[in-house]
Subunit: 232 residues, 2 copies
DNA sequence: CGTAGCATTGATGTGGGTCAACGTATGTGG
DNA sequence: CCACATACGTTGACCCACATCAATGCTACG
């Protein structure tokens, strides 16, 4: 494991405030693994053996039921997933797979729980992380229940544009079929939603999207700080 | 505030393990308020001044956007709400209103945050509570994205039946219009969904539902531990 | 009583899923 | 280098899930 990666992980909200010994112990106990794209890292309903930290690449969280499947979210460097399952020592509720070639740090769940009990600053950081994740999930539920698919796409584009500098040129960065699942629709419907956004100032060119008229798109999308803000 | 209420609150997962001084300080700092039905206790986008504990009655969590509104969940005695907002000292993402005559204990947010920093056992309980809430929310998101409205209703009935003793007679306990919002559909569609469950062994009689054929209903509903379990 | 709110039902429209066909890369092996 | 296979995105036809609008009956309550 590269030193620069360790430095980056240390900067995570989750690890920033904890003691050196805590951090070192966790990193030492962890395994750094490389995975090609498309590898399933964890599967729902399995016991939570590790806390996962994405050091490089891209991981998709998803879940299935009765023959259907949906994407819950993505984890990019540097980010963690399934913290809650690890803390409660219960089965995963989500599955995870790599979308790109990825490097992932796996920390044994028992070590995380133990570290939390011995380092108050770390536990405090966990509270912060869980609260943030909880609030993001509330926003996602509101996104799903209060908006149509096309509206979700419009807001996703606005947010992606800001993350990429606000130039009005958006690179999807993920396949459209995965984006469709993320937004809770079928690939066919995503195509039609893109078409429907044409009159609202959106020009599609393969994986490159141009927001030609930001004001019109915003008027249609109706972004809300209580749904779309990333931070909190 | 009655002594027996204090005893019950003390039994909450959130307060069970904390020090006596922590608990007493929080309860002393809190205000016990009575509200008639239909009172809005908090509104989304307002700063989080209090942690709320429902001592008696029934509270609905809901959220609105662009003229639409949806129910996120219910809080029954003894239960807490908006813990995450309080911990992050940020605005509420949900609103809350009483559905019945209720008694609610309001604890100033600053006291909660302070207590957490001074009582490790309390902080540990907060981690447990947040993890549980997070996982319940993941389940709700899966419920929404992976099921149709009628399927959600069928599973809701199965769960309500178990909570009420498993006799096969289910009392709704809330208005059908509120239930519809909870399940993410309109009141009209809830009526039709009830009708659609007739062939699957469900008999409706106003607010009293009879599950005449449990096996048939379960076969239709396809309940899953990864979506419908209350505990975890 | 009269009125207001709620549940139900029907008619109708829209969002979105399903199925099928087709085009366009991107590879792979001959 | 080409033929072929595969995966993906797009488009059209069609159908189901669900919302909307309107009308009706019911119950609860002042």
């Amino acid at each position: 494991m590269r030193r620069e990666d360790v430095v980056e992980i240390r900067k995570l909200e989750l690890f920033r405030a904890c003691a050196d010994e805590t951090f070192d112990a966790l990193v030492t106990a962890g395994f750094l693994q490389r995975f090609p794209p498309g590898v399933v890292l964890i599967q729902e309903n399995e016991p939570s053996d590790f806390l996962y930290i994405v050091v490089e690449g891209l991981v998709e969280m998803f879940a299935g039921h009765a023959g259907r499947e949906t994407t819950i979210g993505f984890v990019r460097p540097i980010g963690t997933f399934i913290l809650a399952a690890v803390l409660k020592d219960q089965v995963y509720l989500q599955s995870a797979r790599t979308l790109e070639k990825s490097r992932v740090l796996m920390i044994p769940a028992a070590n995380v729980r133990e570290a939390m009990q011995h380092d108050t600053a770390f536990m405090s950081a966990i509270v912060g992380e869980l609260s943030t994740c909880y609030r993001n999930l509330v926003k996602e539920l509101k996104n799903q229940k209060l908006r149509t698919g096309t509206e979700r796409l419009a807001n996703w584009l606005l947010r992606a544009n800001e993350k990429q500098g606000g130039s009005g040129m958006v690179e999807l960065g993920i396949g459209k079929r995965v984006l469709a699942s993320r937004l809770g629709m079928t690939p066919e419907n995503l195509s039609r939603s893109f078409a429907a956004l044409g009159p609202h100032g959106v020009v599609v060119n393969g994986p490159r999207i141009r927001i030609a008229d930001m004001e019109t798109l915003r008027r249609f999308a109706r972004p809300s700080r209580l749904i779309d803000d990333l931070t909190s």
